[in-house]
Assembly symmetry: C2
Homo-oligomer: 346 residues x 2
Amino acid sequence: MSRRRVTLADLAQAAGVSRTTASLVMTGRGRELRISHDVEQRVLRAADELGYRPNAVSVGLRTGTSRTIGFVSDTVATSRLAGDMIKGALEAARERGVMLFIGETEGDPELERGLLHAMQDRQVDGLILASMYTRTIKVPKDVGPAVLLNALPKTASDLPSIVPDEVEAGRAAARVLLDAGHRDGIYLIGVGPELGDVPPRSVAARERLVGIREILGEAGVKIAGGRMFVDWLPEEGSAATADLLEQHRPKALICLNDRLALGAYHALSDAGLDVPGDVSVVSFDDHPIASWMRPKLTTVALPHYELGRKAVEVLFAQMGEETGQGEIHRVPMPVRHRESVAAPRV
Amino acid sequence: MSRRRVTLADLAQAAGVSRTTASLVMTGRGRELRISHDVEQRVLRAADELGYRPNAVSVGLRTGTSRTIGFVSDTVATSRLAGDMIKGALEAARERGVMLFIGETEGDPELERGLLHAMQDRQVDGLILASMYTRTIKVPKDVGPAVLLNALPKTASDLPSIVPDEVEAGRAAARVLLDAGHRDGIYLIGVGPELGDVPPRSVAARERLVGIREILGEAGVKIAGGRMFVDWLPEEGSAATADLLEQHRPKALICLNDRLALGAYHALSDAGLDVPGDVSVVSFDDHPIASWMRPKLTTVALPHYELGRKAVEVLFAQMGEETGQGEIHRVPMPVRHRESVAAPRV
DNA sequence: TCGCATCGCTAATCCGATTTAGCAAAGGGA
DNA sequence: TCCCTTTGCTAAATCGGATTAGCGATGCGA
């Protein structure tokens, strides 16, 4: 179908110079190594006419660098929630002329090993080890330059981490309610009011709660109660809220994610309560449904796109420096003010 | 950090044989080329001890094949809707020991060219050209082995296409209502009742409508009306349904996608109508929200995962045969029976 | 005019594998 | 004993570039 690719040898012949000269010109080292302007122009013109593009595989073999990075995740690549993470990484990579390999481990260590090997065998310049939900992961040995995305190292590691700033997000959610004038009747959906009442292994749950408690505590506001659930699904949000309503009359709900909030909406609606007239709702994640719900949900957004970008940026910085410092980069989670929060009814 | 990789030369030396012999053994051609069992075992053992893995870049240079395919899309890679497409492709690729490059063009032809070049420069064995929404695309020249995913060639092309079977999906949706006993008061949300009343360039809209009309027509059932909207967003579903309710009293709604259905739910609820008691709703896509809605939405699912898998399968078949035939592979769209359809009220 | 530095370019090697062609030793037949 | 196969392995070429070392021509100062 397509005729043979144009190689450096073809280019050199067309320009009437040696392969060395052609290479020097094409890599931009012609000046430095005293190639005459005349010859340089001849090579450049020939390259343009022939449509010469260096074979990246060959360059990779010779230089040991492939202008390629690997994006390995448990399942994030295909999660609807976090596709933006890939997008951010993709764009940041493109800006640097780098391609992205992706792979999923599905939590299987065997798969992970195979995947990392396959990428290393292809001489990736660096790796992004991503996780669907923020959590701690065991860092593989000898991965070369790498960053953790949406994940923290389980044991001390010199790999940098990029994670959403969940504590600050918790503070922000609490401030949203305080700013609206709420001082009591604030309940939590997804976690209990105490620091111990969080789903195990959920960094987001723990940190969000820390932030919430900190700000409410500072304001002298007491959390009226909460319901802990592990998976944070809509049904759980419904159940938690319905259960709550049997005994209490909440004025505001902090739902630990948008799916819980969706369920909470349903339960509130069933109870004939109006959002935000009777009950204000604030949530986390900014899942697409948040802006489809009625009323539109005020929520603290997971900055997926920014996380992805940042991962690539940090990875490149690290590749330059060669000094892994295990730094933790926290990406701000912006509040999306919408329609689900109002002043408490007097 | 990590010591130098073990090369074939290291392996040969450790086993006390030539690089040729080591290579023959490792590529499994030892038998064929008369390497003694004894030597073979020695090489194998050494390889195991040293942890030898061939450098894929070098192999790629020598053999011209990279065990890598490229997944180029307009924006599908990061769309929440279609991440499953990637997942299907990823798994099918892994089963074949192949890695996946991904890239997004965002509809920019310049970006697309650059991306295709970057992939070809890296000697990908094949390409998947994917689209977010089913549509016709202009096929780039000289791409080598490739398949179109969720897309059809704008002009005649010998590249195979993999698309969801939208016409059959339309038939299925119509049958769902017929089977439930509906014979009149069936309205369309998202397209008009006539074949001309569809958003331009939307293959899905056109084909779904064709299927719907075919089955209803065969049953002697007339479509009572419809409302055409271009973007199929929740607000449009609300608006369309509200508008409809001003003049008509529908018994069933065929929403052209789940977001429209979500909006329709809201409008029906506002009008005090019960789903499915007063109005049955059937939809398309099986977006995640479909099972979060109340009542859960009966919808004809886009088989994203299967589309992705199929793309890789067809690509490999094509790479084997060298005979692009421009075949169109239609992947079935299964009905997800849930709670939004009931017999019409008598 | 000779010697040396500079200029402008190229030959040769290397990266790490695969593959072709062929060599030395052993075996077999006449 | 001589010649021809077969066996078992290896030297060398190759893929397409980057890089090192160096070569011939020119210019300049003494």
